[in-house]
């Protein structure tokens, strides 16, 4: 079986350079504009997180009355989604470091999920954003659990992956929490118990604190309404888990997403790097609410090009990026959430079953005249 064709045209070295320069120009223009408006925006998002959380928790305390329970749970879930995506994710990329406000400092922000920010800054900010879609370097390819590309070798274990995917979505924050621990290496004997304990202890501490807060302290404060509050918190965390899973999978594992071999890193220029980011990402069409709730990761392509620009600017640059891609024949993948979700499901189910292994080395990022 041959390589599935890339929807993007092969560019020459000169074209890649020109392409990179055009994207750089977009970046510079936005950078010069970033200021007061962006600061006001992120402060508003932060206020919205606090208000929805207070309202949600307040209503849950009256949770014996079912409509209050439902509304409280939804508001708390909404608050956690906003905190996770538009606030935490974006702040931790350093998008608001220029404000000099310790509250929005990417290096010190700690978010409201069981995973520690420090681990995530390593697995996500560094590994995923630097080595995007490079097999063996970007752990986000299947998260070490799923087979989503023919370039991953099939094993019988993957037959169960449609089932695992559901569990993974429901418990997504836990997946993120342990991603950096590489438990597989412990079982394979490639990591000593001591090393593991050292790596795991901050994670355990953070997870313990989160569990205590949502599942012990707040329910206790509610006194006789312990159970409804506990249940509401479980559901709110679940809603947030499923939503973030959905946004991330639909931004990365759609039909045309490509993975690359490590060799693309050799002499990689800025232009090559941009190309790789675009060919591994997919946007989601939708309204303003959709963009806010996804932390503007509905502009996954723009986010991967400019992870440190305020995410709320992505909407403004997306048409320009799309236009540049079109002119260079680079596929710009965008579709509705449902369409992209369908493609993700297809990948999960399709690659659960055996398919011919395609060596990733055959997938080239750029075919210049010399290489073809």
């Amino acid at each position: 079986m041959s390589l599935s064709p890339s929807p993007s045209r092969a560019l020459t070295a000169a074209e890649v350079e020109a392409f990179g320069r055009e994207i750089d120009a977009v970046r510079e223009r936005v950078e010069a504009e970033v200021g007061e408006r962006d600061a006001r925006y992120i402060r508003r998002v932060h206020a919205a997180v606090r208000y929805t959380e207070a309202a949600g928790r307040g209503l849950l305390f009256l949770g014996l009355f079912p409509p209050f329970w439902l509304l409280g749970t939804l508001l708390l879930g909404l608050s956690k989604i906003l905190e996770n995506m538009e606030l935490g994710h974006n702040v931790m990329h350093g998008q608001y470091d220029w404000m000099n406000d310790p509250q929005f400092n990417g290096k010190t922000y700690e978010w409201d999920i069981v995973g520690t920010s420090d681990n995530w800054r390593h697995t996500h900010n560094f590994k995923h954003h630097t080595y995007t879609n490079i097999k063996g370097m970007d752990d986000d390819i299947g998260y070490g659990l799923l087979r989503l590309f023919p370039e991953q070798r099939w094993r019988p274990f993957y037959l169960f992956q449609p089932f695992f995917s559901v569990i993974f979505a429901l418990l997504f924050q836990w997946g993120v929490a342990i991603q950096n621990l590489r438990i597989g290496r412990l079982f394979a004997g490639r990591m000593s118990k001591g090393e593991f304990r050292e790596a795991a202890s901050p994670v355990a501490r953070k997870a313990g604190r989160q569990l205590l807060k949502d599942y012990v302290l707040f329910p206790l404060v509610a006194g006789p309404f312990f159970l409804p509050v506990l249940l509401g918190n479980v559901v709110a965390n679940g809603i947030r888990n499923v939503w973030t899973w959905l946004i991330i999978f639909c931004g990365h594992f759609t039909a045309n997403a490509e993975v690359f071999p490590k060799s693309v890193l050799r002499n990689e220029t800025r232009g090559h790097w941009y190309l790789r980011q675009i060919r591994g990402s997919s946007n989601l069409k939708g309204g303003r609410l959709m963009h806010i709730l996804s932390g503007n990761l509905s502009f996954q392509i723009e986010h991967h090009l400019f992870p440190d620009l305020p995410a709320y600017r992505y909407a403004q640059v997306a048409p320009e990026i799309r236009d540049i891609c079109q002119r260079y024949g680079v596929h710009y993948n965008t579709g509705s959430l449902w369409r992209q979700f369908g493609q993700v499901c297809w990948r999960i189910v399709r690659y659960a079953f055996p398919s011919k292994y395609v060596p990733v080395e055959r997938r080239q990022l750029v075919v210049s005249e010399e290489a073809s």
Partner: protein, 352 residues
Amino acid sequence: MHTESALKRWLSPLVDPKIFDFWAAHLSRTWRWERRLARVSAVTAAADGATTLTLRWGRRAPALLPGQHVNITVDVAGVRHTRAYSPTVLDARQWQITVREQPGGCVSHFLSAPERVGSTLEVSAGFGDMLLPQDQAPWLLLAAGSGITPFRSLLRAAAAADALPPSVTLLYWADRAASLCFADEFDQLAADHPQFRWQPLLTREGEAPAARINAEQLAEWAPLLAGSRVYSCGPAGFVSSAEALVAGQALQVVSEAFSLPPLQPAGEPVTITLARSGRQLTVPGGTPLLAALEQAGERPPHGCRMGICNTCSCGKQAGTTEDLLNGALSAEPITALRLCVSSARSDLTLDL
């Protein structure tokens, strides 16, 4: 006060101070967990191009000794800026700072605006060691421009405590009479305390404008240099000339400069002070800081080395850096920068 710290101790394991501050801001203008906020109660002209702000403390003001500086942080167009000022304590509840408007200076411009009355400013604890001495050695105070502010504070405090030494001379350089601050106060002080003399030296006014600081002036106005305590405060050039002039003669020299160190052309060596480890190293200016620090044997955290992952982001306390991606220079004290895509363009102090 006691109940407040006990409350904090009990709450701290349960409440994130940042979340606490968010809600506290809805209840009180100045009550915060982590920050100290003072309210601006008056904005008045101090001299041509200089403005005095009176700050009111709702509760206990932070510790501050006469002659020290505080960092004042303001939010201008979404960006927090920090500048040092030397306040004068009026009473337990009130301080004054005097701000000289800098051409193109966003903070001085912001603070001088009349609409600041009623707003709040974030103020740090006092720092700096231009303090009241314990003995009675004569003082020679050399001030240029806004370098006068710590001296006003020292003089007021010493006079109030009846602790002025037998001889105090203040030489105060300014471009013209209209830009002198606190002239009336100094005249009054001289009238009340015969051991205090002050001399304005105007560099751009009068028949024969005063020269910049030099040996003749010192010989004329302050013949008692030997055995004196010399304090100088002003722009870097002024302070270094003052230091050179009195070197070896005075009992003690204390100086504070407040202008930026000069820009270093790329390639010239600069000195980097690592605030946490106390190490000082010399690296070539203009090269990416991450690489330069590694060359010097440091191991700062890093990831991508290309400015995307933010792992190498590090606090800068002083100095000018260049963003290598877009060429922008930043002289802002107290900012974060990414080591892999920034270079030093002056001596720097980093949080490492």
